[in-house]
Structure formats: C-alpha cells, structure tokens
C-alpha cells in the first residue's frame, strides 16, 4: 500500500446519480474505506430501481434481492446505513474544478421543505393539500399531491414538496403535528473536496407522445411500459391488477409494441435500447400471471435476448402462449364507445392488417436525461450525438476528462447485470485516483452483555405507523408482554425502519438496561439491517434479538378478527420471549486475511484484472496456460474501433509483466487449491513441473472462451466455408492481406448467423456475432465495393450503439435475409463455387444464393472448464460457462466467498464489456478483502463432537459444500466461511449434534412450548 501520510490526494469520491449504478459504486468504495458523497437530484436515492415490479431473468423483486446471506438486500438501505456513505438527495453538481486527486465540486442542495428528522410520515399534510399533479412514479396514471411521500423504500423516507405544483396555501404547515414543514426553505451551496468523480445519472424514458401514430396521451388505453410496470406491481397504482384506464375493466387482449423511440430515425433515436425485448418478455409473463386468460401479442422487428440466460427466459415465455408478430405498427385508433384500440400493421405475409386490442403497451426506449446533458456541458465532458457519455473501447468507463468516470445507462442503455459490473469498474477507476483510505475504521461495538447475565428482556413494539394498532390491541399486548417471565421493560415506537426510529430504539435499549430484545413488528425478513444497526449502537449483539411478527402475521392476515389477532400477537410475543431467555451472544470469528489475489487466465480479462488490482495495491499472481499473454486478442483480427487489437494485447502484456506487484507464470496451471475466502492456498504448476505455493485472499477466474467450431454447413469439408474469425483476421490486414487470401476474388459472400448456436446443442445466444458479422461485412464492402454480401439471420441483435453499424451495413448494400427454424440454410456445391439454399422467412419463399465463400457466425463456446471448476469448488452453468452467484446483482461473484469471475469465462462478451467485468471483478475482490479485514461472520453452526455420530447426512444435505467429514477426529466439521446459515444441516442432524447459533434446540423447544403446542 502507498504511504497514506505523504499522499496529498483526497481519499473521498463524488458520485452523481444514486441509482443502482451509483449505489453499487458507492458501496464498493465505502467498503474500501473511502468517504463517498452520493448525490442525486431526486428526493431520495434508489433511482429507477423503485419503478421495477420485478427483474428479468430471475423474476425477483426489483427492490430486494434475496439470498441466504442477505435475507433482503436493498442497496438503498445499505447505502443509507453505511457509515462511509453520505447520501445527498435533491442535490446538483454545479461545477467541477481541479484535477484527479484534487477536485473541488460545487454542489447545490435544493430545498425539500420538510425536515427529514421531524417527519413521521403520518400523511396529515398530504390529506389537507389541495394541489394535485400527475403521479410521476406511477407513470402519471394516478394523481399525487404537491406534498408527497417518496416510494416506500426510498432513502431518506420523508415527505417532500414539489414547488412546481405547490400553491403555497400553508395548510400542510398547519396540519403537520411535528412542525416539520418550512415553505421558505432556501437552496444552499457547498464545496466538496474529492479525488475522483463517477457520473451515473441513469436514463430517461423516451417520451411516447413523440410517436404520434400510437396515440399515447390521446388514446386512454395506450400506455407506456413504465405505466404498465407500475400497474403490474402490487404496491403500484392498481395494486397489481391489470385494468384498462378507460373503464377499469381487466384487459383480455393486450398488445405490446416494441422499439418505441428506439431504432427509429424519424425521432433521432437510431440506436437500440437493449433492454426492451427482455422487459417486455417479463411484463408479458407478469400479465399472464395476474390474468391467465389474457391473449398477448408482441409486435417486434427482431427479438433481442442476447444476455446471459435471456434466450432461455424468452423460450420459456414463448411457451406460455405469447404471440409474436414481426411487424411494424403504423397506426392506433381507439373506438370511443368500446375503448378497444385498433392497430394497423403490415402482416408477415404482406398486406395491411387491422386488429383490435383492449390495451396497448408501448415499450419505450431509453435516452440520456436532459439534466445529464447539461451537466456534461457544464463540466466539459464529451458526449455522443445522442447525449450519452463518450468512452473508449479499451477504456470503457473513463471519460475524456481524467479522474471522471462514467457508468450505468448514462454510457448507453443497459440491463442490471451490465450496470452492476460497470459500476464496479467505475469504482475501480476512481479508487486508483484516490489517496488510500485509512487502514482500519473503528470496529462496530460488539456485545457488552456477559453471556451468563440473568436474562432481562426488553419487548419493543413497533406499530408501523399505526397499521398494527388498526387490528391488534397494542395496549393489551404491551400489558401482556410486561407480565411475561424475565421481561424487564416494554417499549413502543411506530417507525423503527427510519433513521429516527433506529435512534430511538437504541436509546431505549440503553436506557432500560435490558440484555435481550424482543422486537414485535414486521416480518423478520424485513428491516434486518436497520435493527442490526440499532442493536450495534446500543451495544447489544445481534443474536440477542428475537423477532415477533405481529404485523403481517397478526394484524394483516386477521384484519377481520381483532380479538384473535391480539391473542395471537400475545402468543407470538410470549414465544419470542421464551426463546430470548436462551439467546447467547456469538463471538465473531476473526482470521488473518491475505492481501494477494490469484488471477487465472492471462487474456484481456485476466491482464486487466491483474493490473487493476496491482494498481490498487494488491500483490497479484497471474497464471496463464499458454506461453504468451493476450488470449483471444490475438485472434479477433480487428474491432469496430480498434484496427489492431494485437498491439493492445502486447502493450497490456508489457504493463503486466513489468509491474512490480504482479508475478506472471506462463505455461502454468493450477495444481491445487484449498482454504476459504481471505485465506486460500494454491499451488501453481509451471511448465517444468515445479510447483510454486501461493497464499492469496481472493481468486479471479478469467479463463476465457473461444470461437465455437461447428459440424454443419460443410465447415471442415470445404475450404471455402470459413468462420467470422478467419474473415476478420484477413480484413484486419487491409487490401494487402485480402489480396493474398481465399477471399481475393470473392464476388458473392454469404454469412450464416447462429451457426451451431441458439439450437438444442448450444441454446444460448452468443451476443457478439451479429455485430461481428455486420462489422466484417462493412469492411469487406469498403475494401471490395463490388462484392455482394448476404447475411442470413434469425434475429439481428446489434443492440445498443451496435445498431448504427447495422444501419451502415444496410446503407452499403449488404443484403439481410431472415431464416427461421426448423428451415436452416443449406450449403451445397455448385458449378462455379458454392450455393446456399434458404427459405426467406419474411417472403416465405425459397432463395438460392450463389457463393464464392461462406462465412459462419458460430459464436463463443466455453473453454473446457470442468476440471478447474471442480478444483476451485465453484459451479458451471448448463452451457459450460462459470456460474455467477446471482445473475442480476452479483454477476462477478461466485457463491464461494472470495471467488470472482470475468470475461468470456462468464459468457460471451465484447472487448469493452470484458474490460468492464475485469475491472469490476478486481474492485469487488479488493473491496471484499478490505471488508474481510474489518468484519467477520457470526452466522454459523457448530458441532458437538460428543454427540456427532459421523453419519454424514449434514454433508450430503449442505447446498454450499460447507460441511465436511473429518476422518481423523470422526466428526462432521463446518467450514464457516462457506456456511450461509441456512440451517439445513441442523435440521437433518438426527440428535442435534449440529446446532445453529440462535436456533439452539433448547431455545426452539422453549419457544414451541410457550406457543402452547406441547404434546
């Protein structure tokens, strides 16, 4: 690590835009110990995540991502509670002076008009407010008052006034019981000293009014996808029910129109918005779930499901009976009486058609927000013609101004996994500009209660803003709780999920002197972080908390029988109190953490990850199987922006081999691997057979992939059938190499897309091949304008800005012919070369194309990864790529702590995507290692050796490989670092030799007994 004392740079970072991207960047930098300013113009952090009902392809909730370690993972709450993150809502970056390491950021804080600390969210203000406006969060489908509460999980969660709608009548000021409202609040300005800046201002949805032919804004039953998303969402304006705006009836025939404001020259949006095909698939599925008899039709040009796992998701949705029409809709009109919307389109078989629907959903594209364009201008950033931040192919998160990084949809529209990766990459870039964070931050206070202290239980009832009290008699519950054995104090609040609630709870714990807490309130799956925070502040260890669910489990489900609900709430509290008697604080385990990182694979991904980590101060061991570094960069010929990637590979390799913190082993493999996150032991086997032991804290898998080979279309039989890679390498050399190649005299060249992919053998889409084909076609046309190029495709998937290449190829006269399974093209010998027979799926007629050469787009195949996967103890997915922890929120992590992945080992990617993943994986590894040094795990199980019969049921039952047989001691051990605390082993163990902390058998029996279930 660099010497912090002499480093004059700032160690703080400014992040503009606190959506998913900004929050992810912020969390990683905060974990490294850097102070983070999280600025957003909205009243709270969270960005577009609040809009989402659910996310593809996991269909998990947009707000909370479940996993065993984080029962609910909510990035906004995490950010709000992290001591290193300062969220600055309602704020703008006015000006930025200085240079990397020494920026001065001028920030304006706009007034909220409501004091966050005082606001109790009672809603009295909104009740009296006479001014209404359309509800922007509900896509204007519902009205909202000028004083309003942000979405439920926004941070901070307090009312806010929209001054544009406010009439300054002052009624809210009078109504507010806590005097929280001040209509005269003024904006303030401040200057922040930061070392680096990350811009992640996100996207704005395309304004569908600009596509007048669809009638949005005029025809009531034409809605945007954002309005539909909110409609399908249980907390949304219609409580998850699909209704037609015109009459409130459930729509039966629903049409989705794709590419509204995307791939459209008429509105100046030539690019593809990348995510709409998948979000439409997700929404179609949601529609069918809420209304199984709905008939769904999707009007689309191409189906672009190019992300990892997306093709399968699409197949699944298709099988649920959704109809696709490859057609462009030209007009919509709504019948004034029936409310039905008639769509005019040109059918697949040609000829105009008209069809009626009950509801039409416009899949609007994404564009750069106006405020972000203005910001770019203010601080001197280059943007592309569409207003998106400009970056380079080999520096994909760096802006033109050093020290300023770009991530998320502001760079171009993208989905959540790509955003998460890019946020980490931007954090990596920023971290390299900052002075190192202080080595250690103060430990959170641990338990102060001695384990043998006489139980003094505090019962704290959270009424959840009075909602519990509407059913449950809270006074009776409090009296009953006070009468229970060992209960020393009973307290009450109504908002323990807010900052002030947490503060009041921790103050109450301290004041009442209790050493165990029963928290009676919402479901134990909610508010875990908040309660942990309250306990930590009060000096009470987490295991001393018991939760009693009196909200969902009592007040809500028994709304019609208050007496029984109260009785049940009493029982639930009694059970929790009985269990609390047996609660024990767990001592956190601490273990030394290795600073070093092992990077497996020395291609673009591996080299980038190694350099990033080394620049962040970590020693790196890089293992490459081949005798040179560079991997696929040597094979890809040229890319859209880089004529000679080989030179890039060599430059990168030079940096890697000369870096003082990187040790490179060429011609080497991994021979052994053991240990747990933070302390792995590995042996690297060099070419001469020598084994070098390596101790590292983390491992990054960057073993790459390769251009797939196929056994069809006469490939391997006829020398005139080649792969895109072959063509790309020839074209990279320009006229000279073309003249010496097999393509020298080519007059007719036929490219076949999806060769050997998107079929039963390789059911995934390789993401890059459409763009690769188009790129090669353009170059060939440039070098040999008289050559005819035909591209036979199923869907053209030139997503994002790649769409511009597709457009250029068409302009240059490249001919695109669509085929559809099961009718694959057939390559056959002809008199003077080859011929390709194909059924044009649009015309429905057979076509015979002459071909001097056929070039196959075969996509990317995984390397043979099985042995390495087994050695590392990490899984492969069903296609043979490495399987990440979570496809949405953790694309660069393995489930195994301390394990990370990037590049083609994860799945097919372009060059900039690979670099983003590599930088991101490096940042995640660095953040993991510094977090590990500061915190240790308390979720764990233990084995009573006297009781363990060594039967091994726990070992077979554990889904995480965290249980192992110790044959010397004859006991089934727990690998704590792998343990996720799911408790399956403890349940499986017949005599409870395995006990899970905080779920000890004695405590559970006491709880059951208190519930009056004793047999």
């Amino acid at each position: 690590m660099a010497d912090a004392a002499v480093d004059k740079r700032s160690n703080a970072v400014l992040i503009v835009g606190a959506g998913l991207s900004g929050m992810q960047s912020g969390l990683l930098l905060a974990q490294r110990g850097h102070p983070v300013y999280l600025v957003d113009e909205a009243p709270g952090i969270g960005g577009s995540l609040h809009l989402l009902d659910r996310t593809f392809p996991t269909d998990s909730c947009g707000l909370c991502i479940s996993s065993p370690t984080n029962a609910t993972y909510c990035p906004s709450i995490e950010c709000s509670l992290h001591p290193n993150i300062a969220p600055l809502p309602l704020a703008e970056l006015l000006a930025l002076d200085g240079e990397p390491g020494h920026f001065r950021a001028r920030i304006r804080r706009n007034p909220r008009y409501v004091n966050v600390e005082r606001c109790t969210l009672c809603g009295d203000c909104a009740a009296v407010c006479p001014a209404t406006r359309p509800h922007p969060h509900e896509g204007d489908l519902a009205p909202q008052k000028a004083i309003y509460a942000p979405p439920p999980r926004a941070v901070p969660n307090a009312y806010v006034i929209d001054m544009a709608a406010c009439i300054r009548c002052g009624k809210c000021v009078e109504a507010c019981p806590t005097e929280a409202i001040n209509l005269d609040e003024q904006p303030t300005e401040e200057t922040l000293e930061v070392g680096a800046v990350i811009l992640s201002p996100g996207y704005a949805p395309f304004d569908a009014r600009r596509k007048g032919e669809f009638g949005f804004g005029v025809l009531s039953n034409v809605v945007t996808s954002i309005q539909f998303e909110r409609m399908a969402s249980p907390p949304g304006s219609t409580r998850g029910k699909l209704v037609r705006p015109s009459d409130g009836k459930p729509p039966k025939r629903i049409a989705f129109i794709q590419c509204v404001g995307s791939r459209d020259q008429t509105v100046g949006r030539e690019y593809c918005s990348s995510i709409c095909c998948m979000y439409t698939a997700k929404q179609a599925r949601a529609a069918l779930e809420s209304q199984p008899d709905a008939e769904i039709t999707v009007f689309t040009m191409d189906i672009r499901t190019f992300g990892k796992g997306y093709e399968r998701y699409w197949d699944g949705v298709q099988q649920e009976g959704i109809r696709f029409r490859r057609a462009m809709v030209s007009k919509a009109k709504q019948h004034p009486k029936t409310g039905h919307v008639a769509l005019n389109y040109v059918g697949e078989a040609g000829g105009p058609k008209e069809e009626e629907f009950d509801l039409v959903v416009l899949a609007v594209g994404l564009e750069s927000p106006q405020s972000a364009r203005e910001l770019a201008q203010r601080i001197g950033l280059d943007v592309n013609p569409y207003g998106f931040g400009e970056t380079g192919e080999f520096a994909p998160v760096a802006s033109n101004r050093s020290g300023i990084f770009i991530a998320g949809c502001y760079a171009e529209p993208k989905d959540i996994p790509d955003t998460v990766a890019e946020a980490a990459a931007a954090a990596a870039g920023a971290a390299q500009m900052l002075a190192p964070a202080p080595e250690k931050r103060p430990e959170a206070p641990t338990a102060t209660v001695p384990p043998d202290a006489e139980p003094a239980i505090g019962v704290f009832i959270c009424t959840c803003h009075g909602t519990v009290g509407q059913t449950v008699d809270v006074d009776a519950l409090a009296d009953y709780a006070a009468s229970l054995p060992h209960v020393a104090a009973v307290g009450r609040a109504e908002d323990c999920c807010t900052e002030q609630g947490i503060a009041s709870l921790s103050a109450w714990i301290k004041a009442s002197g209790v050493n165990r807490l029963v928290f009676a309130g919402c479901s134990p799956r909610l508010c875990q972080t908040e309660l942990a925070q309250a306990l930590a502040r009060a000096g009470l260890a987490e295991p001393l908390l018991q939760r009693a669910n009196i909200r969902e489990g009592c007040a809500w489900v028994h709304r019609d029988s208050p007496a029984q609900a109260t009785e049940k709430a009493q029982d639930v509290v009694a059970m929790a109190a009985a269990r609390a008697v047996h609660a024990n604080p767990v001592k956190a385990q601490t273990a030394p953490v290795q600073e070093g990182v092992l990077v497996i694979g020395g291609g673009l991904a591996g080299m980038t990850a190694a350099l990033t980590l080394a620049n962040l101060g970590h020693p790196v061991t890089l293992v490459e199987r081949e005798t040179t570094l560079g991997g696929q960069l040597h094979n890809i010929g040229f890319t859209a922006q880089t004529p000679n990637p080989k030179a890039q590979a060599e430059a990168l390799a030079q940096k890697v081999t000369s870096h003082e913190r990187i040790t490179v082993h060429l011609g080497a493999t991994l021979a052994s691997f053991s240990g747990t996150g933070g302390q792995f032991q590995a042996e690297v086997q060099k070419g001469d057979g020598e084994r070098v032991p390596v101790s590292v804290g983390a491992v990054i898998v960057a073993t790459g992939g390769r251009e797939a080979l196929v056994h069809e279309y006469r490939y391997g039989e006829d020398p005139r059938v080649l792969l895109q890679g072959d063509l790309s390498r020839v074209l990279a050399g320009g006229q000279e190499s073309l003249a010496q190649s097999a393509f020298r005299d080519v007059r007719n060249l036929v490219m076949i897309q999806c060769a050997g992919s998107r079929d039963e053998n390789r059911p995934y889409c390789s993401r890059i091949c459409c763009t690769q084909a188009v790129k090669n076609a353009i170059r060939l046309k440039e070098l040999k304008p008289d050559a005819n190029v035909f591209i036979l495709y199923r869907d053209i998937r030139t997503f994002g800005m790649h769409e511009l290449l597709y457009r250029r190829a068409r302009d240059l006269g490249v001919v695109f012919v669509r085929y559809a399974l099961p009718d694959k093209p057939v390559v056959e010998p002809a008199a003077d070369g080859l011929a390709v027979r194909v059924t044009d799926a649009t015309l429905g007629e057979p076509v015979l194309l002459p071909a001097d050469a056929v070039v196959l787009s075969t996509g990317i195949a995984p390397n043979p990864n099985a042995d390495l996967a087994q050695l590392l103890g990490v899984p492969l997915d069903s296609d043979g790529f490495f399987q990440e922890q979570h496809p949405k929120m953790r694309p660069l992590n393995f489930m195994k702590p301390g394990g990370f992945l990037c590049g083609l080992a994860h799945g097919p990617h372009f060059v900039p995507e690979t670099i983003v993943q590599a930088q991101g994986a490096a940042m995640r590894a660095a953040a993991y290692l510094s977090e590990r040094q500061r915190r240790s795990k308390t979720t764990r199980v233990d084995v009573n050796k006297r009781l363990c019969s060594f039967c091994g049921l726990c070992v077979s039952a554990c889904p995480y490989g965290a249980r192992v047989m110790d044959y010397d001691e004859r006991v089934a051990r727990v690998l704590t670092d792998l343990c996720q605390g799911c408790g399956i082993c403890a349940v499986t163990c017949p005599n409870k030799a395995t006990q899970q902390y905080t779920f000890e058998h004695k405590a559970l029996l006491a709880e059951v007994d208190a519930g009056a279930l004793g047999l």
Partner: protein, 370 residues
C-alpha cells in the same frame, strides 16, 4: 454367482457348519461372526470367532434372534477392519447393514456376508421354553422348507415381525444359503461368488426348481398377514388421540431405540439435557392443560424416531422384542414406512448406491402431499 449343492446326509446343520468352518480353515476369512449355543443349551449368542476350535456349539439354524447382527457389524467395522470377517445373517440384518454403511456407521470392506434363508424366529423366552421341553425346533421348521408354510410350534408363535416378513431370503451376500425349495435332509442349495466357489471347491449345479414358487407362496401369505396388521394399525391411529392411545403404556425406557439396528446416534437427543425439564415446568403444563401425562415426551419420542428412522426401517422387529410393555412398535414402523418409503421410491437395504432420502433433494418429490 455360481449355483451349487451341499449334500446333507440327513444333517443339514452339520453340512452348513462344515462349509463355514472351511472358510476359516482355508484362510478365506480371518474370523467368523456366528451364533454359538449358550452353556445351558437353550439359547444362542453371537460370537466373533478367530480360533476354529472355538466354533464348538455353532448353530446358525436356531430360529431365534436375541440381537440384530447389524448392530454388531456396526461395532466391529465402524472405523474399518483389516481382517476379513465372515458374518452369518438373515436378510433383515443384511438390509440393516446396507443402511448402516450408507449412514457411515459400518464399513463393508473386508466383510464377507453369508446370507441365510430365514424360517422365522421366536421370541427369546419362547425359544428357551421350547428347547427346555426337548422339542426338535429346527427339524420341525426344516420340514416345511420343501413346500408349504413354516409353522410355529404348537402353543407358540413367531415374532410379529416375522409373521409379516415378506423378504426372508438373502438379497445380498457373497455366500447365500438357500433352504427353501428342496429337501434339506438331502441337499441344500448355495449361491456363491465365482472366486469363492473355486476356493471352496464347490461344483456348479442346477438351482432348486421349486424354490421360486415356494418362496412366493410364503411371501403371499405373509403379505396378507402384514396387510391385516397394517389395516388394524391404521384403524387404531386415525388421529393423534388414537396414536396416543396406541402408545399409552410406553414407559420411555428407550429399549426400542437401543435395540434398533438403524437408530445410530451416539447419544439420543432424548437422553441429552434438552429433555431434562425444570421441575416447575410440570406444574405449568398441568395448569395450562388441566392435566399432564407422565412420563412426558413419550409420543414426541416415538414420532421423532419415526421421523428419523422410518425411511431406513428394515422391519426386523427388534423394537417389539425389546419392549417391556409389548407395544406393537414394529407394526407402526412398517406401516408408516410402507407409505413414506413409497413416497421417495426408496427401499431400505436395496442398494448401497441409493442415498437415503433425507440426504437428497429432488425438485419433483413430495408431490400430492398437502
């Protein structure tokens, strides 16, 4: 496997015993685990014999099972053995060994399993009575081997578990001794692993033709008995009160657990301090429900044991034999086991390659269970 025939010359017992002795004499095994007659002559006890001279009094045909040999195999092989040990077992014992191996409580390496057709067993006191009365207990049973149903001696009955046992021929074993289907007074058929046949000098011969039908007929009759017992159990235990009544005289001695070949925990949870209740709890329970049965936790004990063991229950019936209150525990285990095992398509003792259901997860299991 090779089929072969032992000539018995009117003494089947001796023919089998001399074959077993040869195993030891030829060095095929280093030790034999076999029942030897006790000094009083009216019973047998399992003995691990390394010195062939100590095989005096061997009696593998005695229709009695004081302990299940599976528990002994577990004790002997728990951490593995270097010596080769031959063990004579009935099929219920063999199936229990298979389960124990899967649960890491026994090791099959170096174990030579010698499976015997089982003619049925008496409770230990009944067998002793018969022996003391001078009856030819073995001979009477062997007379049924050629055909018909093995009948218990007049005035006595087989153990309930044996009356409903439909798996009484060896399903595993390097050496399998077949009594059914031929006249044991003349010859006994054996099935033997190929290499073993050569070393024992056994010539291939045709299997007993009648065997299949004889075994099937006995199994049919046993199945009828079984279904009758199951029906009566299910009738009596339609609800929790019925089950409570079924087990009402349980004295919580844990003998059924101690004698069960599968119940393998080093220390049962019911014997740990978790079930040492604070004294005031009893008054509290009595107050809450008006009355509390003592000793407590009997129903919970049996349900827990069912929960843990029922997928692996091989139906040996040692729980019945061990119960001082004569509770029909084995009927309960087998009746519940029939349904639970079917649910997981699991047959305890069938194969070492089938993991116990509790150790596996299948997405499609337990369909139709509410």
């Amino acid at each position: 496997m090779v089929h072969s025939v032992l000539k018995t010359d009117g003494n089947p017992s001796e023919a089998i015993h001399s074959l077993l002795r040869r195993l030891l004499d030829e060095g095929i095994v280093d030790a034999l685990l076999v029942p030897l007659r006790v000094a009083s002559g009216d019973n047998t006890v399992q003995t691990l014999v390394r010195d062939a001279r100590r095989l005096e009094g061997m009696d593998v045909l005695a229709p009695v099972m004081p302990v299940t040999t599976a528990r002994l195999v577990s004790a002997i092989t728990m951490t593995g053995i270097k010596e080769r040990v031959g063990v004579v077992m009935r099929d219920c014992e063999i199936r229990a060994v298979v389960e124990l191996v899967k649960l890491q409580q026994a090791k099959a390496d170096n174990l030579l399993i010698i499976g015997m057709d089982c003619l049925g067993t008496y409770e230990v006191p009944d067998y002793a009575d018969l022996m003391r009365s001078g009856a030819d207990v073995e001979g009477a049973l062997l007379a049924h081997a050629i055909g018909g149903q093995p009948q218990p001696h007049e005035g006595k009955a087989f153990r309930t578990a044996c009356q409903m046992c439909e798996k009484f021929t060896p399903s595993h074993g390097d050496l399998r001794i077949h009594l059914f289907g031929d006249d044991p007074m003349e010859r006994i058929h054996v099935e033997v692993a190929d290499d073993l046949a050569a070393r024992l000098g056994l010539e291939p011969a045709a299997p007993a033709q009648a065997r299949e039908n004889v075994v099937a007929a006995i199994a049919r009759q046993r199945t009828e008995t079984r279904d009758r017992l199951f029906a009566s159990f299910r009738e009596r235990t339609k609800d929790i009160a019925g089950l409570q009544a079924y087990l009402s005289t349980c004295i919580r001695c844990h003998n059924c657990m101690v004698n069960c070949p599968i119940c393998y925990c080093k220390e049962c949870i019911f014997r740990t301090p978790i079930f040492d209740h604070e004294s005031e709890k009893y008054q509290m329970w009595a107050a809450r429900k008006g009355a509390v049965r003592l000793p407590t936790d009997t129903l919970l004990f049996h349900i827990t044991r069912l929960n843990h063991m029922v997928t692996s229950c091989v139906g040996c019936g040692m729980c019945d034999s061990a119960c001082p209150s004569h509770l029909p525990i084995a009927t309960m285990f087998r009746a519940v086991g029939q349904e639970v095992q079917a649910l997981f398509d699991y047959v305890p003792g069938r194969s070492l390659d089938e993991p116990p259901p509790v150790a596996t997860f299948r997405e499609d299991e337990l369909e139709g269970i509410q």
